[in-house]
Symmetry: C2
Subunit: 215 residues, 2 copies
């Protein structure tokens, strides 16, 4: 059985949980608590499994895959149905670019270890940390909203009328934005797509609060 | 002909230039100067083409693709030979994870706009900015070195004996590290692979200083 090393609040883990649910794949969930006792991601066992010391990590028999987007692609290649990428190269490029806009331009800047560096090394206060967090989400969502609202390829979901890798990345990022009370009024297309996703059972099952390690 | 909107010093642009050279694809290079006159990436024309206001952007006839890794995948699908991904799903996952470790965990934190936020909004001094820059490269390279040095799949290049997407990402990141005088003694595998890449004409042709917009 697939094993997913995950943290319930990690949005990178959340992306993979959604993809696994959409593809109807059962998996063993192994909690890696990022905050407890200095962070379980720094344990020798986990660091040996994934030297980046980040979650998630997927284990598929003898194969170990880190990096959430690499895991999404791996699942796409090993379990192609239902597809989370469109069939045409330009469509696939659009979906990947949307996913990467979240995964490269928003999420890495608001990651736990970056927030820790800002407060511990640069000694910024809580207000400056919140402003930093909001800045990168707002900047990224402004670009995403434009990409989504301006394209005839946007449908019920980010690309057409079935969920793709882009939706797997969008929903966890919206959840982060809501957790930090970031106003989303300027992003109607993002809010609409998030609601359409949340109505699907696969997205609901992947929610942080429903995970075994959320207790 | 393919058109690449690029900035000579952008390491994301550099990744795509390497892939285009490896695949023997001719392209028109359109310079987007990130520093001149407040940044050409913020011009209305460029923001309309790519709302993230980041380089690179590839134009292939009517299709526009942003995000360097989405562009690498698009080129792989539209121009499969020579392949920059291995044929097997676990190998492809490994290459993508290596590429994403650079593209998600190192590069976004040291991007121009992030450094600008640190100095303009958080008012950190030059020494703190340099320490920030070095911190994320050193942390990321430590993980990468471990991933590369520990795997029998590492060869002359990051994966086997022909260049892949991982090498397209590694070389520009090493160039950034060298530009900021970051010691690389702790990363012998990274240094060895970078040297193997630099010996290839495709990598040499993609170097920042040889680009038309470097003048």
């Amino acid at each position: 059985m697939l094993k997913l090393h995950t943290y319930f609040r990690s949005s990178a883990s959340y992306r993979v949980r959604i993809a696994l649910q959409l593809k109807g794949l059962t998996f063993e969930s192994i909690g890696v608590h990022l905050l407890r006792e200095g962070g379980a991601q720094h344990s020798p066992d986990y660091a040996a499994l994934n030297p980046t010391r980040l979650v998630p990590t997927l284990q598929d028999g003898e194969h170990t895959v880190g990096q959430s987007l690499a895991i999404l692609e791996y699942l796409e290649e090993t379990h192609p149905t239902p597809a989370l990428l469109p069939p045409d190269a330009p469509g696939r490029a659009r979906v990947r670019a949307l996913a990467l806009t979240i995964a490269c331009e928003i999420h890495p800047l608001n990651n736990l270890r970056v927030l820790q560096y800002l407060t511990q090394e640069l000694k910024i206060d809580e207000a400056a940390k919140t402003a930093w967090y909001r800045h990168w989400i707002t900047l990224g969502f402004t670009a995403l909203e434009s990409l989504l609202a301006s394209s005839p390829e946007t449908g019920t979901f980010c690309h057409g009328h079935t969920p793709t890798q882009a939706d797997c990345c969008l929903v966890p990022q919206v959840a982060n934005a809501r957790r930090f009370d970031i106003p989303l009024d300027a992003f109607p297309c993002i809010v609409r797509i998030d609601a359409a996703c949340q109505a699907l059972d696969a997205f609901a099952q992947a929610r942080p609060e429903l995970q075994p390690d959320a207790a």
